[in-house]
């Protein structure tokens, strides 16, 4: 079987959809956050595939930026989540709802 670029794009779209559905459906902040990471990796696959198809290194450069920025986001996100779980152990997105209206 011949694996061409389309397969990678389909994989990327699938990962992106799984990640997006996860953010919307899951209630644990940590899991929601992991789903966002899944979406970012789907983006990376998509960029690398297009870069390969177009013979353009620009797309691969984007991947490095996305990786680095995602790492920075992880640091901040875990910090925020730890700050919350210290005050409310075991909290999920439904417990974190003081603000509404």
């Amino acid at each position: 079987m011949d694996v061409d670029a389309t397969w990678y794009l389909v994989l990327s779209a699938l990962l992106f959809t799984i990640g997006g559905a996860g953010v919307l459906v899951r209630r644990n902040p940590l899991v929601m956050f992991m789903c966002v990471e899944l979406m970012l990796n789907a983006v990376n696959i998509s960029f690398v595939t297009f870069a390969r198809m177009l013979n353009d290194t620009g797309g691969q450069v984007v991947v490095f930026f996305v990786l680095v920025v995602a790492a920075a986001e992880v640091v901040v996100g875990l910090g925020i989540i730890v700050a919350i779980l210290r005050r409310q152990p075991g909290a999920d997105a439904d417990d974190i709802s003081l603000l509404r209206g």
């Binding site: 902040p29 998509s46 177009l54 353009d56 986001e73 003081l98 209206g101």
Partner: protein, 505 residues
């Protein structure tokens, strides 16, 4: 080996135009200085960080002015980073609104028991991201600028980390922010795949109109616009905004609702009017729907708010709807009226005026909260009796937001209506009618603040006058002066007309 080296081309460093980078360099230097001062000084010396941050922002304004006097459009790194009139106007707006944010933060942060030096470090980093955003004309630099301005803002929103509401504000902002960034990136990857470039002018050339757009282009543009719709808190992507605004420290709320929103609009303007200029058939209807529901839903929910910060949050959602309206009709504006690009000046004018009046309103909220320790609308009862100056100022800002002449807001709404009528298509007229109805609706909740201040009794009979710290007083004076100036003169529209792109596809 040496023989080969001798044959090789001599290394030539790329020419870097340091003048074009000067605002960013000055701001980066002050970021480092703030960090060092925070490290070296003990608790009593921390106040210096706020002064240094303020001075750094004003110093960064100097190269913006020299670049404006110089007037030449500069393009660096193959067009990925551009300094043109649009970039300079927006950078001046970011620096000035950042300065006012520092003025209203100074006492609040110094009196709280939370970290002071790091606060200004984060604020300046976020502002650096906005300066970069003003010049970013490439998908990568737009993404990096967006993250540089957002990541410190996630932390600033949760600055009161021992307060559950602060935590919640931060978490909601963070999760929706990174989700929106991922959606935007996926759109960018599709656009990159179709056009083969990350430079906006090259994307614009590759997507230049003609036959019906490929589905992949539609999806790419849709995802990118949705990603930034989160940033500018357009309905239905606004859900984070009221909660984050309420839970965050009030100076940060002011900052998010003005500077962060402006940065989102800057990115949208650059992407839409450089990258996707030829595809107005894709984004025109999308912006029409966003603008119509954003102003309507924002205003209707604002009507039933009892907390003034939440009310201002929904008001800022509704104001974003007005700013989105010119995008919706850009494709229909005749060439002899300026073509699609004629939709840029109304948005920029609106952003300038909105920054002045909204920062002013939040400064008053800060001052009043120093006495009443409350954000409830009822705590404004009888404000005129014991603080007439503040009541008059709040009335000025509130009626400016409502769009009543001669205060700034009417001009902002006027230029948007003019753009809508310039387009003149049935869709544009309907949007203008929706906008007009919304202006009337918004008057109800803005006027309820004025009624509270002027006609209601003081809630607990406490008529002790409010002391206004010097920094907050100067922020109020600055905001009030600009709100009045923008209303009675054409300064804002002049700057709006100035803000044109130097390089187009």
């Amino acid at each position: 080996m040496l023989h080969l080296l001798a044959q090789a081309e001599p290394f030539r460093s790329p020419t870097v135009d340091f003048h074009a980078f000067a605002p960013e360099i000055v701001l980066s230097v002050s970021i480092v200085v703030v960090l060092l001062v925070d490290l070296v000084f003990d608790e009593r010396g921390k106040w210096a960080t706020s002064s240094i941050a303020g001075i750094g922002l004003l110093a960064a304004l100097v190269p913006v002015l020299t670049l404006a006097v110089d007037g030449a459009d500069r393009s660096l790194f193959d067009g990925a980073y551009v300094v043109d009139n649009f970039a300079l106007v927006m950078k001046a707006l970011f620096l000035l609104s950042g300065y006012v944010t520092i003025l209203i933060s100074a006492r609040y942060i110094a009196e709280g028991d939370y970290y002071e030096g790091e606060y200004y470090f984060m604020l300046l980093c976020s502002l650096l991201g906005m300066l970069v955003m003003g010049s970013a004309r490439d998908l990568i630099s737009i993404f990096v600028a967006l993250e540089l301005l957002s990541i410190p803002a996630y932390l600033l929103a949760g600055w009161r980390k021992r307060d559950l509401r602060g935590n919640e504000a931060s978490l909601k902002y963070y999760l929706l922010g990174v989700f929106a960034a991922a959606v935007m990136l996926y759109g960018m990857s599709l656009i990159f795949g179709v056009t083969g470039s990350t430079i906006l002018t090259e994307i614009g050339a590759a997507l230049d109109g003609g036959e019906a757009p490929a589905p992949i282009v539609v999806v790419g543009i849709l995802f990118i616009v949705i990603g930034f719709a989160f940033k500018v808190s357009a309905v239905p992507f606004h859900t984070w905004a009221p909660d984050t605004y309420e839970g965050a420290p009030t100076p940060i709320t002011a900052y998010l609702s003005v500077a962060s929103k402006a940065a989102g609009f800057v990115a949208l303007l650059q992407l839409v009017f450089i990258g996707f200029l030829g595809r107005s058939d894709v984004w025109g209807p999308l912006f029409w729907v966003l603008a119509a529901i954003t102003m309507t839903v924002g205003n209707l929910i604002a009507l039933r708010q009892t907390n003034i910060v939440r009310m201002l949050a929904y008001s800022s959602v509704a104001q974003a709807g007005f700013m989105l309206a010119p995008f919706a009709v850009a494709g229909d504006i005749d060439v002899d009226r300026g073509g699609p690009l004629a939709a840029i000046p109304p948005v920029v004018t609106y952003l300038l005026i909105y920054a002045a009046m909204n920062l002013g309103a939040f400064a008053v909220v800060m001052v009043v909260a120093r006495k009443t320790r409350s954000g409830e609308l009822s705590s404004y009862g009888g404000l005129f009796e014991y603080a007439p100056g503040l009541a008059v100022l709040m009335t000025v800002f509130i009626f400016a937001l409502a769009g009543i002449p001669p205060l700034g807001g009417w001009l902002a709404k006027f230029v948007v209506f003019r753009a809508l009528l310039d387009a003149g298509t049935p869709a544009a007229i309907v949007l203008a009618v929706i906008a007009a109805v919304n202006s009337v609706i918004s008057l109800f909740y803005y006027a309820s603040v004025a009624r509270e201040m002027w006609m209601r009794p003081v809630p607990d009979g406490d008529r002790a006058p409010i002391r206004i710290p010097a920094s907050l007083g100067s922020a109020l004076a600055l905001a009030a002066a600009f709100t009045l100036l923008f209303g009675v003169s054409n300064v804002a529209t002049r700057f709006g007309d100035l803000a044109i792109f130097g390089f187009l596809p």
